[in-house]
């Protein structure tokens, strides 16, 4: 058993008081390792809450830099951070909340080449990306590595999230077979997004990560949670694993990862590549 300092006991007292978390649950959080993919609208609240909760090791991946148009919803980034690497900006705020956690930054674009090596060291992955190809890449890589993850996406007034335990519960490809054709679904930069729903969905994903690590409650597995903030309608859609899923079905056809064209919010593929290659 870990020896908590009196400062830690005070810091984490509201977790320790919870019957479903308690001393043992807080120890699991301190020993836990979570990777956040994206330091944007979702990644910011996820990172802040996981750091506040005392998740011992938090990785955060994003190749982008802070732009003034991000500040309406990406709450770990401040006006003075414009131009800074998002991972560095987020890390600074996470450590300001809780210097007791370790934050590892990856200022790179997740690709078929690097994703498996990066996620392998983590207990849980949280997808806070802004494009379909990367969401499929995260799903496929987590499936192959057997790492549980939370999928999340937001657009306009809508949010959706599901939690996947590879080999046990329905995966993203059980529900959505392939990325939609480019331009079939607009990006946030084209269609807009209500800033606060990034917090609504990101904190649901953070709660799933904390529940996974502590074992508290039941996860959003085999369930797609969707909401529309315009009417504040929440909906849970039951899912089941699909025998013909190309990733986790009986005869999987996906045996290796591939990169697809990925339109990122506000950036064309080419400029994303250039930005990342240049190390911005």
């Amino acid at each position: 058993m870990l020896d908590f300092t009196s400062e830690q006991l005070e810091r984490y007292s509201r977790h320790i008081l919870l019957q479903d978390v308690g001393v043992e649950g807080q120890e699991k959080l301190l020993e836990g390792k979570v990777l956040i993919v994206g330091a944007g609208g979702l990644g910011c609240p996820i990172g802040l809450y996981l750091a506040a909760a005392g998740v011992g090791t938090i990785g955060i991946v994003d190749c982008d830099t802070v732009d003034i148009s991000n500040l309406q919803r990406q709450i770990a980034h401040y006006t003075a951070d414009i131009g800074r690497a998002k991972v560095e900006s987020a890390k600074e705020k996470m450590l300001a909340i809780n210097p007791g956690v370790t934050v590892r930054t990856y200022q790179e674009y997740l690709s078929a080449e690097n994703i498996r090596a990066i996620i392998r060291d983590y207990d849980f992955v949280v997808d806070g990306t802004d494009n379909f190809p990367t969401k499929f890449l995260v799903n496929d890589a987590c499936g192959m590595e057997g790492i549980p993850f939370s999928h999340g996406g937001i657009l306009r007034f809508d949010g959706q999230t599901m939690t996947v335990l590879p080999g046990e519960s329905a995966c993203y490809r059980c529900v959505f077979r392939e990325p939609p054709p480019p331009d079939a679904v607009p990006t946030c930069s084209q269609a807009g997004v209500l800033g606060a729903i990034a917090g609504m969905l990101g904190t649901i994903q953070a709660a799933e990560a904390l529940k996974f690590l502590t074992g508290a409650g039941s996860l959003l597995t085999d369930t797609l949670l969707t909401f529309n903030a315009k009417n504040m309608d929440f909906r849970k859609i039951r899912l089941t694993r699909q025998k013909d899923c190309p990733l986790c079905g009986e005869n999987p056809t996906i045996s290796e990862l591939s990169d697809n064209v990925r339109p990122a919010c506000g950036l064309q593929e080419k400029s994303v590549r250039q930005a990342c290659d240049a190390g911005h």
Binding site: M1, F4, L9, E10, S13, L17, Q19, G22, V23, E24
Partner: protein, 80 residues
């Protein structure tokens, strides 16, 4: 009868307010095995009013609650 009960651990939470007294109780209970007994010393008022109910709700058993000479309380808790 109560003289026969020897606690396996003792935690003095006098001058410790709510809810940190409960946090300390939970930390000490986490170190014990099922069936072992924790003696926790609590101030009169809110502490003795709150802690017994909270540990009972978590499934532990209050074996004894007695007033001390200084007006504080001794609570014997058997771990679930």
């Amino acid at each position: 009868m109560s003289d026969a009960i020897k606690p396996d651990a003792v935690k003095d939470c006098r001058k410790v307010g709510c809810p940190m007294n409960l946090v300390y109780a939970k930390v000490e209970l986490a170190k014990l095995q099922s069936g072992q007994v924790l003696e926790i010393l609590l101030d009169d008022g809110a502490p003795i009013g709150n802690v017994p109910g909270s540990v009972t709700r978590e499934g532990h058993r209050i074996i004894e609650q007695k007033r001390l000479a200084d007006g504080a309380w001794s609570l014997l808790i058997e771990k679930k």
